[in-house]
Amino acid sequence: MSSIDTEATISYEEVLESFDPVMGLEVHVELGTNTKMFCGCATEFGAEPNTQVCPVCLGLPGALPVVNEKAVESAIRIGLALNCEIAQWCRFARKNYFYPDMPKNFQTSQYDEPIAFEGYLDVDLDDGSTYRVEIERAHMEEDTGKSLHVGGSTGRIHGATHSLVDYNRAGIPLIEIVTKPLRGAGERAPEIARAYVATLRDLLKALDVSDVKMEQGSMRCDVNLSLMPKGSTTLGTRTETKNVNSLRSVERAVRYEMCRHGAILQAGGSILQETRHWHEDTGVTTSGRPKSDADDYRYFPEPDLVPVAPPQERVEELRATLPEPPAQRRKRLQSDWGFSDLEMRDVLNAGLVDLIGSTVEAGATPAGARKWWSGEIARRANTDGAVDVATYAVERGITPAHVVELEGLVKGGRLNDSMARQVWEGVLDGEGTPTAVADARGLELVQDDGALEAAVDTVIAANPEVAQKVRDGKVQAAGALIGQVMKEMKGQADAGKAREIILAKLTG
């Protein structure tokens, strides 16, 4: 008997010294259709148990499936967005295995004839490089029900005395997107896995085909991983880590399995081909069901559904509905807006792209839009625990038009920058539009040149030494005088104009 500890790990650096990782990612996406894949039941999340089921999705004897038109369209659009070929003719297939949350004891899926195949997705990495993830296929299938495990200590499956099954989720349309084995990722494998899932999520969101909420399970990732000894070309035995349900977990699970595989292989052991379960809380995977010859799914063409043969012109119509790919859109916007890489990344991380976009569209400058949406409001949104700035703004009735108006007040010379900040705080406090806040707070630059000139004269008279320096050509000394003038004017002056008058009087 081997005494190798299959749950030990070695350091990441040690793994990379001796091995190259090979990854395969399978992402299941629940489509945001109104109805299920094969019946007219609603798909609302969180409905009372077993209230969104009918003879079809409950798998009652005699019931028959009929394909959801929207789901097929979504599948084709996803395939096109992933640069896939779309099958001219394909069938559904039955994947036969028994499981209590699967009403028919077969899953209606696709086997060797997926609706979309042979595509790719370019993924931008932190270092500015791009990694191309090859997509093997995207196919249509249906989700299973959900089980509540009763009688065990923690609601876990082990130790439970029985389970309670709710079939509301059974039959919700799923698209499974499968990558080809990703090689050559090396140390970047965890980052690439995460970036791929994030990029895919953004893409699906832009396609408006799913709400892609990983925390609600509407997007789920399975990670296949194996290691190859450096220099080898033979694929190692892989494990499949199921249901990794956050971006961070995707990255951690890849890293963890690499370290675990590395430990086993380094100790001279061999990897057991099995399903692993990821534990978000402890950051480890544990052994699940061994994969073996017993996994004989006996796929065969689904006789209750007819083939799907999308006409070419329909595919082209759907291609025309594709949004600009998120990565491309980001690059375009950065260039249009003239943001630096750092500025763009901050804007992206803060989720402000759409908000800035609509603000610019409403007439603001990109710099102004970025400035007002990422300053005080972001701080407040964060303090109040809002999901993001956009949500925070919507909840408080703050719109792009407010930013445009505020910027207009500055440009028109009514407000200077510090006054504008005060006005914006008033807007955020719910005091009204920028103009209303400025009016209410009596904020307005003094436009009367006479008053300003008088103030300049007073300040020059009071600071003869400084004034002399300016006369001698030390223009930067004027700053001290401007500060005094602004003080004299109680802040309600245009600093630029004050500078002009001072220089005119002393050097003109």
Binding site: T35, H149, I157, S163, V306
Partner: protein, 98 residues
């Protein structure tokens, strides 16, 4: 043609989730052997290069609009259940996650 053994039948019964008794297994090995020998005729037919036929009618692209239809009432859903609790189907303990 491969000979079907008792172990093969036991394995198939496992896949098909039928708890066949020893007597049933014994009987079925013989019966299935005879049937398989007979149906193997399909391999002698001139099938080379023939497109397999999964559906009798050449119909394609049958879909329905994505419009919600009424579901069953929860009591009707659970009426036939061997056991139910908390408006859910109660099933014996499940050995492993899928």
């Amino acid at each position: 043609m491969a000979e079907l053994t008792r172990d093969d039948v036991a394995h198939l019964a496992g896949l098909a989730r039928i708890d066949l008794s020893d007597a049933e297994l014994d009987k079925m090995v013989g019966e299935l052997g005879i049937i398989l020998e007979s149906v193997a005729v399909v391999q002698q037919a001139p099938i080379e290069g023939v497109e397999p036929m999964s559906h009798p009618m050449p119909i394609v692209n049958v879909t329905r609009p994505d419009v919600v239809r009424p579901s069953l009432a929860a009591d009707a859903v659970l009426a036939g259940a061997p056991a139910a609790d908390q408006q859910r189907f109660s099933v014996p303990r499940i050995l492993d996650e899928d």
